[in-house]
């Protein structure tokens, strides 16, 4: 455990240096989405009602954007490995007193923590829009639950992809290709209930849908059709993704 902790501290320390500007720049997009797109579309769409719960569109969007942010952050798990390789730290650490799984687990834990932080920052930025919300402790637990498993899923996915590509450029290409469909075919921007049937079917296979729906239940009591299954499917999908990623990560060569 202490070995994993020391790897995690090292990852967090080097990530802050690596992506301090990147982290800051990543907050620009959510602000644009929430305060420009969200407030403008709020005038057109007004409120969103799902299963009898009504919230403003900008509130609906703020939660979705936090998860979109989290997915982007989690995708850096694989990039961190390539960065370590380029800096000679991958070989150096693997020749040290660590097991391979500890090295990879530290990457996932690191993006989970960074994802949680990034998402909270987005929610704090969006907090003026959430005024009047009567947040219960159990609601916060739902939010944390969904943030944790979503970042575990996407961190593992990033690791899994990095085990199958040879360069960080290839990793970027793959991620840039899959992030937009994952974002748009999910309940990030609009509720599942209003989607066309085909898109809805695909969105039901997307963990981002479940994660955003669980968080909206926690914050607003908004219960989407996915909610009962989401609580079970999120950890299941994340565990499968983690197991596949850990298995594949052993293939990553020096």
């Amino acid at each position: 455990m202490s070995r994993l902790l020391s790897l995690l501290l090292r990852d967090l320390k080097s990530s802050v240096g690596l992506s301090w500007h990147l982290l800051a720049s990543q907050l620009v997009m959510p602000i644009v989405y929430i305060f420009i797109l969200g407030l403008t579309l709020n005038r057109v769409i007004g409120n969103v009602t799902v299963n009898g719960t009504t919230i403003s569109y900008v509130q609906f969007l703020a939660v979705g954007v936090a998860f979109s942010q989290l997915m982007l952050g989690a995708s850096y798990a694989g990039a961190m490995i390539f960065f370590d390789k380029r800096m000679g730290m991958f070989e150096q650490i693997l020749a040290g007193p660590f097991k391979r799984y500890e090295y990879f687990a530290s990457k996932i834990l690191s993006v989970i923590l960074q994802g949680l932080l990034g998402s909270f920052l987005v929610l704090i930025i969006a907090s003026p829009l959430l005024i009047g919300l009567s947040l219960q402790p159990v609601g916060i637990l739902y939010v944390l639950y969904s943030l944790f498993f979503a970042s575990l899923f996407f961190g593992s996915l990033s690791l899994l992809i990095s085990a199958h590509v040879k360069t960080d450029q290839a990793l970027n290409v793959v991620f840039n290709s899959i992030l937009p469909p994952l974002t748009f075919v999910s309940s990030i921007f609009y509720p599942l209930e209003i989607m066309p049937d085909v898109i809805k079917a695909i969105a039901l296979a997307n963990p981002l849908t479940y994660a955003a729906d669980v968080a909206r239940f926690g914050l607003f009591g908004m219960s989407s059709v996915t909610f009962p299954y989401a609580l079970f499917l999120l950890p299941l999908l994340s565990t499968i993704s983690l197991a596949l990623a850990m298995r594949a990560a052993y293939r990553i060569s020096l």
Partner: protein, 318 residues
């Protein structure tokens, strides 16, 4: 079965490593005694780094057996990695941390306590001349400074066996000598076994108790510098400086029956021969007949570099 003696730090028996059709290591066998500084020399691509990666358990051999500090490289990789240090050939630093943070973070990775980390970092910064750049980011360092940091960092933790893969690359002569002396000191005072690869013969000669020469994945010679010199004792070196030296001169010298090998250095020509004194008149006459003017000629004992050249050219001693 490889033997496992308490006096032996490393033992390899018939290790091979194949990458598809390419045989990077071909039946490599040797032993390194505990507490000795063992040099592993060879030309680029000879298999030095592959051997180190196998011994540090980063790579698995295709066949053969090896033990490091009594532990099997396949079964006990965790035990081995807990007891070794490794300075790899590739530059390696925490790019976005300062020199001080690099030292501290590396010590923490190895589980060194905070106060001990502070003491060691101070000592190493002094020893490797890092004091003036302690608060500089690794990203701002020159190649030589980064290398100094990389080497110093490895001494933040204790070890029984240290692997150094061409550690002096990029270091200036003063720091290079500091490093070699420091390694000698650690081997003597703490009993650390050192496995040292280089292609700079003077370093190996200065530092190493014993040396193995590897070429094309095979060990071509192994022993102390003196033993290797003795093995190649018949090959005295005749050094010539010839005005207007060209390829024809080399061909002419190679055609002399008693000459075993001719090496074209930048300014001179090295001739390996059993009997330099009786060959000298013949060589001079051949060169004069072809219109070449010999400006300098001397005979000397073979250095480690000469032994290395001979071993590589012949695939082993006579």
């Amino acid at each position: 079965m490889v033997r496992s003696l308490s006096s032996v730090a490393i033992v390899l028996a018939n290790i091979t490593k194949e990458y598809g059709q390419l045989k990077a290591l071909d039946g490599v066998s040797f032993e390194v005694k505990k507490g000795e500084i063992f040099g592993f020399i060879g030309p680029n691509g000879a298999g030095k780094t592959t051997t180190i990666r196998i011994l540090t358990t980063l790579l698995t051999p295709s066949s053969g057996e090896a033990k490091v500090l009594g532990y099997d490289i396949r079964k006990d990789s965790d035990e081995i990695r807990r007891r070794i240090g490794y300075v790899q050939q590739q530059p390696s630093t925490e790019f976005f941390m300062t020199v001080k943070e690099n030292l501290d973070t590396y010590g923490r990775l190895w589980g060194v306590e905070k106060e001990e980390r502070r003491k060691r970092a101070e000592f190493l910064a002094e020893k490797f001349g890092l004091n003036e750049i302690l608060n500089k980011g690794a990203v701002e360092l020159s190649i030589g400074e980064r290398r100094r940091l990389q080497v110093a960092r490895e001494f933040m933790h204790d070890m029984e066996l240290l692997f150094l893969d061409e550690p002096s690359t990029g270091l200036d002569p003063i720091v290079k000598r500091t490093l070699l002396d420091f390694i000698k000191e650690r081997a003597k005072s703490d009993g650390v076994t050192v496995f040292f690869t280089t292609h700079i013969m003077s370093e190996a000669e200065y530092l190493c108790d014993r040396i193995a020469i590897i070429d094309k994945g095979k060990i071509v010679a192994c022993g102390s510098v003196e033993e290797l010199r003795r093995k190649f004792h018949s090959e005295t070196v005749l050094v010539l400086t010839v005005e207007g030296k060209d390829e024809k001169v080399i061909r002419l010298l190679e055609s002399v029956r008693e000459v075993d090998a001719v090496l074209d250095d930048d300014t001179s020509i090295r001739i390996f021969t059993n009997d330099p004194y009786s060959q000298t008149p013949r060589i001079l006459s051949i060169l004069l007949k072809e219109g070449y003017h010999v400006t300098e000629m001397r005979v000397r004992e073979p250095t480690l570099e000469d032994v290395f050249v001979q071993a590589i050219k012949k695939g082993g001693p006579k």
